[in-house]
């Protein structure tokens, strides 16, 4: 990885080097009164070559799936097929304005409808909304749906959200945004939610129980059906956090487990590129009794046999429906992260139902293959058949050598692998969470296993070599304390 310093774009640039993308224009001062205009615009003018070189160099100092393997637990860093980007970039779709009349957007609406319907079937929900922009946004949407549902029922006392201690950090944060309190549920010695624990927690104040299955330890909650029955008997709703949906497609459906609400992360399970942290997309699915509360707009189909119909052979027509009195409102400026809807539907086509089932099976196979290959060198707290991910603990390595989970991750960077997720879930000390995904070959996994074994051995024989890592990256370990104590969040023009 190139270690050369790349100056900020603001450090270069000279007046008079502008690119001629548009014809010369009159000065702004000729067009509007001075009082309405800004004084100056302190931005650099660069040649296009300056810009190309700057951002190309920045890209070279960045890992991506295209360059390295990401064993990143709970993040599902699978291959992002390029056909998906090409389709999202079709001019008719890319340049489609959200306010065009529905009759000029029939193809785009058909894409949304097909994806919604496919997801509903795949996960056992009555309907999906593509409105939320990301997973956390979808969680918020789902909790707003729950709140609206109870309000409509006149059930005012339900303000508690039950969240297992293996849950993602967004769950409690989302609960707080709808004014709900969080009750944390301790996992049992099997790393799962026990029936006793849920019986003790669920009650007349329970609004929602938020769970993921398999959970973030990579374990299937095998009593999920019974857990859901307990929550339902208490009058609560079951919410499925779809972060780990890559483990169970075509094999088991949240709807059949008893979940009333769920979200998916299209950027995880459905091969949307993560793009350095977004944009994502977070469809929300609901059981039949919650459909009226979905955010607007909703895509409605009309025509021959709309439920089982195909577009275009069955003459279906589509419209966006906004007037839904029980809806929670809308979550964003415009309808969906449509470019990602296109990508996700293309991915569904590339696989079909059988292909998606195989995706999940192979994701599980890859995870277990790594687990059994390293368990002689590191503790595996739940050493059983895991799903698409598993956790290891560097606790005893740390005790013996001072090498922490974080250090092991950093040492992987030097060997050309992204670090696994570390320190999550919180209940496993010095946690290392590994999720290889199904798109990685046996050779890649063998290479990764070799590198990880080498590091685990080095941790005991030459711990300093692990503590010093990484040494081949653009920078060495970063001073995060200084960054947080003295925030420098922007460049400033040199003073007068």
């Amino acid at each position: 990885m190139p270690a050369f310093d790349t100056p900020l774009i603001f450090d270069g640039g000279q007046d008079g080097r502008a690119n001629r993308y548009v014809p010369a224009a009159p000065p702004l001062a000729d067009l509007l009164p001075a009082a309405l205009l800004r004084d100056e615009l302190p931005l650099p003018d660069n040649t296009e070559l300056d810009v190309v070189r700057h951002f190309t160099r920045l890209s070279q100092k960045t890992f991506g799936i295209d360059t390295v393997f990401y064993p990143l637990g709970s993040c599902t860093m699978k291959y992002n097929p390029r056909i998906n980007d090409a389709l999202a970039n079709l001019p008719a779709l890319r340049d489609l304005h959200p306010f065009v009349p529905d009759e000029l957007a029939q193809g785009a609406l058909a894409i949304m409808w097909e994806l919604e319907r496919s997801l509903a079937s795949l996960f056992g929900m009555a309907a999906f909304s593509l409105n939320p922009a990301a997973g956390a946004h979808a969680e918020l949407t789902a909790l707003l749906i729950a709140k609206a549902f109870y309000k409509k029922k006149g059930d005012a006392g339900r303000t508690t959200v039950i969240v297992p201690d293996t849950a993602h950090g967004t769950n409690p944060a989302s609960a707080a945004m709808v004014g709900y309190n969080v009750v944390s549920l301790a996992s049992d010695e099997r790393g799962r939610v026990s029936l006793d624990a849920i019986r003790a927690a669920a009650g007349a104040d329970t609004a929602v129980c938020m769970m993921t299955n398999p959970n973030t330890l990579g374990l299937f909650e095998d009593q999920i059906h019974e857990i859901a029955a307990v929550v339902h008997a208490a009058g609560g709703l079951m919410y499925y956090d779809g972060a780990n949906a890559n483990a169970l497609m075509g094999n088991s459906r949240p709807g059949d487990m008893g979940f009333d609400l769920m979200h998916l992360n299209l950027h995880k399970t459905f091969s949307i590129p993560h793009g350095g942290g977004g944009a994502g997309a977070g469809p929300v699915g609901v059981a039949a009794h919650l459909v009226p509360f979905l955010p607007v707009p909703v895509v409605r189909a009309a025509g021959h046999d709309e439920a089982g119909g195909r577009w275009p052979s069955d003459g279906l027509t589509f419209r966006l429906e906004f007037d839904r009195p029980d809806a929670v409102g809308t979550m964003r400026s415009f309808w969906s992260n449509f470019a990602h809807v296109v990508r996700a539907l293309a991915y569904c086509y590339a696989n079909g139902a059988d292909g998606l089932a195989r995706v999940s099976q192979l994701a599980v196979l890859n995870a277990n293959y790594i687990r059994v290959a390293i368990r002689d060198l590191i503790d595996i707290p739940y050493d059983e058949i895991n799903r698409h991910e598993f956790v290891a603990s560097a606790q005893s390595i740390k005790r013996e050598t001072g090498v922490r989970a974080l250090d092991i991750g950093k040492a992987l960077l030097d060997r050309g692998y992204h670090a696994p997720t570390v320190y999550f879930p919180l209940l496993v000390p010095e946690c290392i969470m590994i999720e290889p995904t199904e798109t990685e070959s046996k050779e890649t996994l063998d290479g990764f296993i070799g590198a990880l074994r080498e590091i685990l051995i080095a941790a005991r024989e030459l711990p300093q070599s692990v503590l010093d890592a990484p040494v081949t990256t653009a920078v060495s370990r970063v001073d995060e304390t200084r960054a947080a104590r003295f925030p420098d969040l922007r460049w400033r023009p040199p003073g007068p």
């Binding site: 509007l32 070279q60 999202a88 779709l93 785009a108 950090g169 960054a483």
Partner: protein
């Protein structure tokens, strides 16, 4: 698809794991096992997928129409260099840059985005982006709620209706009141009741948009800002057309404590609504209340300049239920596109594009309001869109234009019943003189006969 496993690989790997079949590996209790076949789209090869999407694209006929739509999503010229750089796999397929050592490039680009937003808005700090303009406004309102401890916000009716809708959705969750300020005859926010409304210090923030939803430049007058500051209310300045920031007085210059808005115009496609990119900037005073990710500049162990996600203790994965917001993603890739766009256009290019928008909007407005029966609805100065009053109703006029291959703009009756005879029309640097002529000719052809409009309105 996209799985590399040969039959032999699977066999060897199953043996290593100690199971005999893939089914055994993924076995679940019978009660929750999939039994019936799923109703999914059929599996297709890539060539068939491409053909299928060509069908979708053909059935999306809007591309064949001349369009004057804007209203929060704008088609601007995007130089090819933007896509060529942004679509590099290192950027496109990278994860959130938690591993700073292997993410220096992306982190620096986001630091540059934060700087661009700060320079464009005139404020001290900006975050790494939020979902879009509407959620930026909602998040800004939450900052104000947290800063003041008050439980209500006051928003201008000239703020984008979808932004107000999202604000109401978020407010319902948080049990916050949302009250509105009307718009006045000129198309600006009517601040006449402001002082009275603020007197009991009930509002955490006053939210205005400029250019507002009607295209009118709508920075609050000095007296309004004085009343806002005097009651320790925060002023949130919204921008749905980020390009306007290159030309108009900055939110900081007229007193905004927070600037929130939509950055799609900077190189991002309209894409039927997303993904777009929200921006959020504020004063140093509110630094610790900014939601979402922030990139900071620091040093590495060897003293070299390094970038890192910072102030993470504010965020959901640390604070959990005490976080400033539940927001987890930023729109990193959209923000990257915007950053490359801003770098490529530069000061000169941005000013030129802004000037072309002003010129074309003025030309369009002059041309259509010269027609008999058509008039500007509002008198305030505009940036690149304006409200046209038509004879009869807007829906009928737009339908007639559609017959002639033109999407004439947005029917304002959809959001403002009292403006059912009004169209919001937009011009950008991509609008040509020929486009304007085509529109005016079509309007002249489709105009109701003299008198008929009047009869229809009785």
């Amino acid at each position: 698809m996209y799985t590399p496993h040969t039959a032999r690989d699977v066999e060897e790997m199953l043996r290593a794991v100690g199971v005999t079949s893939l089914d055994e590996l993924v076995r679940v209790p019978d009660a929750v096992a999939v039994k019936a076949p799923l109703d999914l789209v059929p599996q297709l090869s890539e060539i068939e997928i491409a053909a299928r999407f060509d069908d979708f694209a053909r059935a999306t006929s809007a591309g064949a129409y001349l369009s004057f739509l804007g209203a929060g999503a704008y088609r601007h010229y995007v130089p090819p260099v933007i896509g060529a750089l942004a679509m590099r796999g290192e950027f496109l397929t990278s994860y959130t840059p938690y591993q700073a050592e292997v993410s220096q490039g992306y982190l620096q680009a986001i630091y540059e985005w934060q700087t661009y937003v700060a320079l464009l808005t005139g404020l001290d700090v900006a975050n790494a982006s939020v979902y879009d303009g509407a959620t930026a406004v909602a998040e800004a309102a939450i900052v104000a709620i947290n800063a003041t401890g008050r439980r209500a916000v006051l928003v201008s009716q000239a703020v984008h209706p979808n932004y107000r809708a999202v604000l109401r959705t978020y407010a319902a969750g948080l049990d916050i009141a949302v009250d509105e300020l009307p718009y006045g005859a000129a198309g600006n926010t009517d601040f006449s009741a402001l002082e009275r409304l603020l007197a009991d210090q009930r509002y955490a923030a006053v939210i205005v948009q400029t250019p507002n939803f009607f295209g009118c430049i709508d920075a609050p007058p000095r007296a309004a800002v004085t009343a806002i500051k005097a009651t320790q209310t925060l002023l949130i300045g919204v921008t749905a057309e980020a390009l306007a920031l290159a030309a108009l007085a900055t939110p900081a210059s007229w007193g905004a404590d927070i600037a929130a808005g939509e950055g799609q115009s900077f190189g991002n496609a309209v894409a039927y609504g997303g993904p777009h990119v929200g921006f959020l900037a504020t004063t140093s005073e509110q630094l610790r209340r900014i939601p979402g990710r922030l990139v900071g500049r620091t040093v590495d162990r060897d003293g070299r300049t390094a970038y890192v996600l910072t102030l993470q203790a504010r965020e959901q994965h640390i604070r959990r239920e005490r976080a400033t917001s539940n927001i987890c993603t930023n729109q990193a890739h959209c923000a990257l596109i915007a950053t490359i766009y801003l770098a490529a256009l530069g000061k000169t290019g941005l000013r030129d594009v802004a000037a072309h928008n002003l010129v074309q909007a003025a030309a369009l407005r002059a041309a259509v309001t010269a027609l008999d029966g058509y008039a500007p609805r509002f008198s305030a100065p505009v940036f690149n869109e304006f409200v046209l009053r038509v004879p009869g109703n807007a829906a009928a006029t737009l339908a007639a234009l559609r017959q002639r291959g033109i999407v004439g703009g947005l029917d304002l009756g959809r959001f403002y019943p009292e403006l059912a005879d009004c169209i919001l029309m937009t011009a950008t640097e991509l609008t040509t003189a020929a486009d304007i002529e085509r529109l005016t000719a079509a309007l002249a052809e489709s105009a109701p006969e003299p008198g008929r409009g009047t009869i229809a309105r009785i």
